[in-house]
C-alpha cells in the first residue's frame, strides 16, 4: 500500500519538481483544475507590469513595432508549435477556440466541396465539448450538411464516403479518454475524410505530434495546461498542404497579406497568417506567452515526454488511491484505466451527490470541478493533474480529503448543494 511518506519521497526524487517554483500557488489549496484554468505563473505579473507600464503606458502606439506586438501571434504560436509537433510558422495564436474552430471547419468544408461535393457530413463524438458541437452544428446548417454524433468507439467504423470531416477533441473534457490521433487520422484519410483535432485538453498535457500524425487542422486553448490566464487566446494550426489553399471566412485585416497598406480588397497572407482575423488582445496574449514559457521550461528536463511520464504517474496514483482508500462510497473511476488512453485527468462518478462532493472538496481547498450527466452520460467529478505544479503528496492529500468528505457525510450539508452560475 502506498503511504503519504511514499509520496513525499517521490516528490523529493522528482526531477520535474523545481518547475513548480514557476507558479504562484495559493496557500491551503490543492489545485486539480488546471484542465479548466491553469494557475498563474510568477513571471506573468512582472511581464504584465512591463506591458502596462512600458509598452502600453509609455511607448503607446509605437509598441506595435518597438515591442513587437505585431509579431506576437506568430511568436507565441511558434512556441506552442514546439509542444504539439507543428513546424515553425505553421501555428498562430488568435481569437478563441470556438472562433478558430469555425475557421478550420469552414476551410475543411471548402476543400471537400471542391474535391467531393457528395461528402456532406461532419462526424464527431457525442460527448465532445459542447462549443465544438455548437460551431459544427451552425456550419452544417449553413452548408446544408449533417452533424453526426457518435460514441467514441463508433467513430472509426463510420468514416464513410459521405463524411467530409472528422472533428474530434483528442482528450475528452469529461472522461479524459484520449483518442489515438495518428490512428484516427490515418483511418479518416483512408476514407477520404479530413481530420480536425481540438487540442484543448492536450496542449501542454500530453505529447502531441500533429505532423507525425499527418493531421489536417488543429485548434486549442491557451488557458488550461498552457497557463495563459482566464480566457487566454487560442491557437490554430493548419497543415502546410492546406494552409495556402484558400482564405477562411473570417478574413480580417490581420490575416491580410499587407494589412498596413490598407487596400480595399482582401489578399490573404501566405500560410497560416491568413488565419488571423482582428486586432489581437495584447494583454491577454502577453500573459499567454508567459504561460507557454512555463511548459517550455520543461524542455531542459525531458520536455513533454517527461511531463507525460509524470502525468501518467499522478493520474495512476490518484485512481489507485481512490479505489483503495475511498472504497465503499459509491465512487468509481470513469477515465480509462489504461494510461495510453487517458489524458492528464481522472474522472470519478457517483449515482448521486457528485456536485455536492465537489463543493465539499472545494470548501476544503481541493479544487476540482463537476460536469453534470444526462440520460446517456454519467455525472462527472473531474480532477486534472498538471505535472508542472502538482506533487505526488497533493494527490495523496486530495484523496484523503475525499475520503473524509465521504466518511463524515460532510458532502450532504445543504450548503454544498447551492448552485453557481459557473460549475
Amino acid at each position: 500500500m502506498t503511504t503519504r511518506q511514499d509520496c513525499v519521497v517521490r516528490d523529493r526524487h522528482d526531477p520535474l519538481a523545481p518547475l513548480r517554483e514557476q507558479f504562484h500557488l495559493p496557500d491551503g489549496v490543492i489545485y486539480l483544475d488546471g484542465n479548466s484554468l491553469g494557475v498563474r505563473p510568477k513571471a506573468t505579473t512582472e511581464r504584465m507590469q512591463q506591458v502596462l507600464h512600458d509598452e502600453w503606458g509609455t511607448d503607446l502606439i509605437r509598441s506595435w513595432n518597438t515591442a513587437g506586438w505585431i509579431h506576437l501571434p506568430q511568436r507565441v504560436g511558434n512556441k506552442i508549435a514546439r509542444l504539439v509537433g507543428a513546424g515553425e510558422n505553421e501555428l498562430v495564436v488568435a481569437d478563441s477556440t470556438s472562433v478558430n474552430l469555425y475557421k478550420v471547419l469552414s476551410a475543411a468544408a471548402r476543400i471537400q466541396r471542391e474535391r467531393d461535393p457528395q461528402r456532406r457530413a461532419i462526424l464527431s463524438e457525442r460527448s465532445n465539448f459542447p462549443t465544438d458541437l455548437y460551431i459544427a452544428e451552425s456550419l452544417c446548417k449553413e452548408l446544408g450538411w449533417t452533424l453526426r454524433l457518435l460514441e467514441a468507439d463508433e467513430v472509426e467504423s463510420h468514416l464513410g464516403p459521405e463524411v467530409a470531416v472528422l472533428m474530434l477533441t483528442q482528450v475528452n473534457y469529461r472522461t479524459g479518454r484520449m483518442f489515438d490521433m495518428a490512428r484516427l487520422t490515418a483511418a479518416a484519410h483512408a476514407a477520404g475524410v479530413l481530420a480536425v483535432w481540438d487540442l484543448c485538453h492536450s496542449a501542454g498535457a500530453v505529447p502531441v505530434d500533429l505532423k507525425g500524425a499527418d493531421a489536417d487542422f488543429a485548434i486549442g486553448c491557451g488557458y488550461k495546461y498552457l497557463n495563459g490566464g482566464p480566457g487566454a487566446p487560442a491557437f490554430v494550426w493548419v497543415h502546410p498542404r492546406h494552409a495556402d489553399a484558400f482564405s477562411q471566412p473570417l478574413s480580417g485585416w490581420m490575416g491580410h497579406a499587407a494589412p498596413f497598406e490598407f487596400i480595399p480588397h482582401y489578399q490573404p497572407a501566405p500560410g497560416i497568417a491568413r488565419y488571423l482575423c482582428g486586432t489581437p488582445p495584447i494583454l491577454s496574449m502577453a500573459a499567454l506567452e508567459c504561460g507557454v514559457d512555463t511548459v517550455l521550461a520543461a524542455e531542459a528536463h525531458g520536455g513533454m515526454a517527461a511531463l507525460r511520464a509524470k502525468s501518467v504517474e499522478l493520474t495512476e496514483l490518484f485512481a489507485q488511491l481512490v479505489e483503495e482508500r475511498c472504497a465503499g462510497h459509491g465512487l468509481s473511476v470513469v477515465s480509462p484505466r489504461d494510461a495510453a488512453q487517458r489524458g492528464s485527468q481522472v474522472c470519478l462518478t457517483r449515482s448521486e451527490g457528485g456536485y455536492a462532493i465537489v463543493q465539499a472538496l472545494i470548501a476544503r481547498g481541493v479544487i476540482g470541478d463537476f460536469r453534470a450527466g444526462d440520460s446517456q452520460m454519467p455525472d462527472i467529478l473531474r480532477f486534472g493533474f498538471t505535472p508542472l505544479y502538482t506533487r505526488y503528496v497533493d494527490v495523496w492529500d486530495a484523496v484523503e480529503h475525499l475520503r473524509e468528505v465521504m466518511e463524515s457525510g460532510e458532502w450532504q450539508r445543504p450548503e454544498f448543494n447551492r448552485r453557481h452560475a459557473v460549475t
Copy 2:
C-alpha cells in the same frame, strides 16, 4: 490670432480638465493617436494587479463566480451602451471588431434572405476601414452576393431594391468625415435596407444614439477612444427587434442559453447574449472596463455632449492653427471643416512627404500616424483628439512642432523615411 497663452487660459477654464488626471501620460509626449490606441488609465494598473493576484492568482477558477468574470461581457457591455444610445442588456463585449462584424452581417443577411431574397448586395464606402470591407467581401463570396463600394456622397442615392445591407463606419478612419447616422439609417429603411454601423471611431468620441437613429446592428472597438488597451475586446449591439430573431453563425458556448449544462445541441441565449461566442479574454476585458470607466467619468461633467463640445473645439483649433501657422508648406486639411460632419480627428494631406513628416513629429514626441493613399485617395497625416486627456495647449504645441518640422526641412532627413511594420 490665437496665442499659446490663449490656449493655456482655455485649459485653465476647461471644466473637463480634471478628467486628464485619470491617465498615465508619458513625459514629453503630445499624444494625438488616441484614435488608434487610447492611453492607459491609471486605474488599469491596480485593477490588473487585482485580477492577476487575487482573482486569477488566488481564487483561480472560482473567480468565474466570485469575481463575476462570467458577467463581464454584459457588465462592460452595459457601460458602453450608455455611451452609444443603446439600452440595458442590448450590447455585449466580445471578440474583435472583425469577428463581430461577421456576426452582424451574417445576421442581417439571414434576415434579408427571408424577407426579400432578391436583395443580394452590401453597400459600403470605398474608404471604409479595410477589415470591414474584407469581412463583407468574404461573406458576399459565401452568399453569392456583391459588395458595392462607393464614395461617401454616393451612398444614399444607391440604396435600391437590390441592396440588402448598408454597412458604414460612422466616422471614417482616414478623413474623420462623419455620416449622419439617423439620416442614412432612415434612408436605408425607406429603401428596405438594413443598416449596420461600425462605431470604432465614434464610441467615446462623439455622441451616438443607436436607438434614436433606429439602427439595426452596430459593432465597435475598445482600444481607441474607450482606452481599453491594445487589442481590447470589441462590442456588438443588435436592435432588440432583431436580437431574438435567430442565431448568428459563430454559435459558441458562451452564447448558449445554458452554457454550463453542457448539452450537445445549440440553443441560443435570449437577446444579445447569443452574440457571445468563446471564452472571453478576462485580462483584456478587465482592462477595457477601466478604460470605459474613464469615459463614463465625464457623466459628472456633462457626459458625451460635453466631451463632444471640447472635441469640436480641439479639432477646430488644430485645423485653424495649421492653416494659419503652417501656410505655404503644402499641407491641407482634408477632414470636413464643418464640425457637424467631422469626428474627433483632423487629417492633413500633402502631395509628398506625409510619412516622413509624421515620423519627424513622432521623433519630437508628437504622436499621430500616417495612412498611405492610392490613385483614388490622398496620403493622410492623421491626428486624433481625445477630449478626455488632450489640452488646448497640446494642440498649440503640436502645431508649433509641425511648423518647425516643415520650416526647418527636418522631415527630409533620411531616417524619417525608414518604414516600420506597423504604420
